[in-house]
Symmetry: C2
Subunit: 353 residues, 2 copies
């Protein structure tokens, strides 16, 4: 099916576009009252992820409000470890935790690769009905956590830690850590392939915790496994291949290494300068993101000024997907999001002439 | 007075040394039982900072255990805002907070530049007696927070926030924020000058929260003010000038701009690669730091391996001061610190032949 609005896919492939496409990380989220209502109906965050009809509903909500260039399937990166039997729980105010964290080799040896259909079928189903509902309007993005990021959650057992436990395993039992990362690599690749087969037309790998590592540890424990996943999904002879975006929060120093994986685009948090990033890797990959999410708390006038700054930093031509540098925060006024989208619509065409 | 061990000062000036000097951020700290005993005697963390004899005592403690190449005066970056009347409190497990945070222009207009002698005399006094006690053994480092980092604490009012309040002020009331940063620049410069006059022979600016900003906001709100401080302290015709180290946590992308301030050295957290950093700015400045503090939780064998990796990443020649990329964590076994220091002593001479 050819899309009416294929700006995202064209920009990810660095093909010409009439204006810079925009979507927003966590665009289906708590800052929207309709999201909060649907979540209340679902009963819990996890129940919302696991209910394909409701996941579809919240995925579409931001597109009804804002003229966004992509939808991203509503889900959570921790559904994979949950499907592996770790017992995912979300506690209000404390974030996610696991009932059975991975503590050592015995726990790792018990882990199996989840089956995308029988163990995570709700994700594929949500994608199928969402693609159906979207019709030919905009593309749907699928996603997963990176193996390292999932391992960090699985070994720490909860969020908000200083990562001493997972680093301890990586530094002291590297063979165990690599075994865990191999299982996760198989799991993530299978899950992304299933999302693609269900209709996702771009895929994003969230390496939320790659940036807590030194460069040589990042290459060993995170990037190497993301590279394997890209290679499996992105074989040159595969007619079903879709663009892949890698996003390591705090990974601005390593863009060259990340671009060399064969992915089509890199996500940037807000600390890396967009112009410098383009100079470094813009010949190889598209760039997505980069606005400080805190800007959305400022006035529409300031939001518009920052949009102009970022568009100028990237400069003329395709290859930029406008986005925040991290997920939108729950307290943002939706009118500010409207101002952001409008500013990108109005200010970006001149950069594509 | 000429020092017996001047490796730190020589390395900061990129002069030849026989081996790489080492000191450790927060080396006088909770991981040492003798520190915990002195702190208990003082009654509180703040009372320890404000008692020159006890501050001297804990400053010297790590040097009695380990063959370190520098002492750093025991103090806290928040003593300056405390001296400005904000009412600093330390609560166990929650970190520092202020009774009277800065909320807007009226609060800013009430702030004065503290007098280093009458308001912060305990810092100068602690330095004088510590330099006296150290004799000609090793240099003593003085320090301060950067204006932006102090402003972040003063406006947020406590640690552990997402910095929305201080960013809100910077983005929406930039004139107010710049006024606050000017007052802090005068305060930090006066405080560092007093530390130097009291006997500190190197100075370090801790920009703990510069890395939460986008590059253009970092230049505007943090680096510009650090540059002014360096210029005031480091006038070419000033015979009392001492080496200045700038450390922005998460600032690896901006090393070139930081090196252009005229400082003598940059601190590196552990996410920036030491070899790449040297390629980028090693002709202009020395580099300090870079080991992931979590490595100290691993075995002495692994610690030694990581020392070797870092020494090799920097390569041959002077200009590297071995250190962690952030403060040592309270749970570290002092025997692991001994292993770190020993490894640097044994493995680094070959890089200086």
């Amino acid at each position: 099916m050819s899309l009416i609005n294929d700006r995202l896919l064209r920009a990810l492939r660095r093909q010409p576009v009439d204006r810079t496409p925009i979507w927003i990380m966590r665009q289906a989220g708590r800052y929207l009252s309709e999201y909060r209502r649907t979540r209340a109906r679902a009963g819990s965050f996890l129940a919302l992820c696991q209910n394909p009809e409701l996941a579809c509903e919240v995925t579409l909500q931001p597109l009804q409000r804002f003229n966004l260039d992509a939808a991203i399937i509503f889900s959570d990166i921790l559904t994979i470890p949950d499907a592996m039997g770790l017992g995912l729980r979300f506690t209000d105010g404390e974030g996610p935790s696991f009932e059975r964290p991975v503590r050592g080799r015995r726990d790792i040896d018990r882990l199996g690769v989840p089956d995308p259909e029988s163990d995570l079928g709700y994700v594929g189903e949500a994608i199928r009905i969402t693609v159906d509902a979207l019709g030919d309007r905009v593309p749907l993005i699928g996603f997963s956590g990176s193996p390292w990021t999932l391992a960090a959650y699985m070994v720490e057992g909860k969020s908000g830690t200083d990562f001493r436990t997972v680093k301890g395993m990586a530094f002291e039992q590297p063979a165990d850590m690599h075994r865990l990362l191999e299982i996760l690599t198989d799991s993530v690749a299978a899950c992304l392939m299933a999302q693609r087969d269900a209709g996702a037309s771009a895929l994003m790998l969230f390496d939320t915790w790659g940036g807590i590592l030194s460069r040589h540890h990042f290459l060993e424990f995170s990037l190497g496994y993301m590279e394997r996943i890209v290679a499996r999904l992105n074989r040159a002879d595969d007619p079903a291949a879709v663009p892949i975006i890698l996003f390591t929060k705090g990974g601005g120093s390593w863009l060259e290494a990340m671009a060399a994986t064969g992915c089509q685009a890199l996500g940037l948090d807000w600390t890396e300068d967009l112009g410098h990033a383009r100079q470094r890797v813009g010949e190889r990959v598209a760039l997505q993101g980069n606005m400080d999410p805190a800007i959305l708390e400022a006035s529409p006038r300031r939001i518009r000024e920052e949009v102009e700054v970022l568009l100028e930093r990237y400069g003329k031509g395709t290859g930029h997907v406008f986005n925040l540098g991290h997920g939108i925060t729950p307290g943002v006024d939706p009118a500010h999001v409207a101002a952001l989208v409008e500013a990108v619509h109005e200010l970006s065409p001149v950069f594509h002439r």
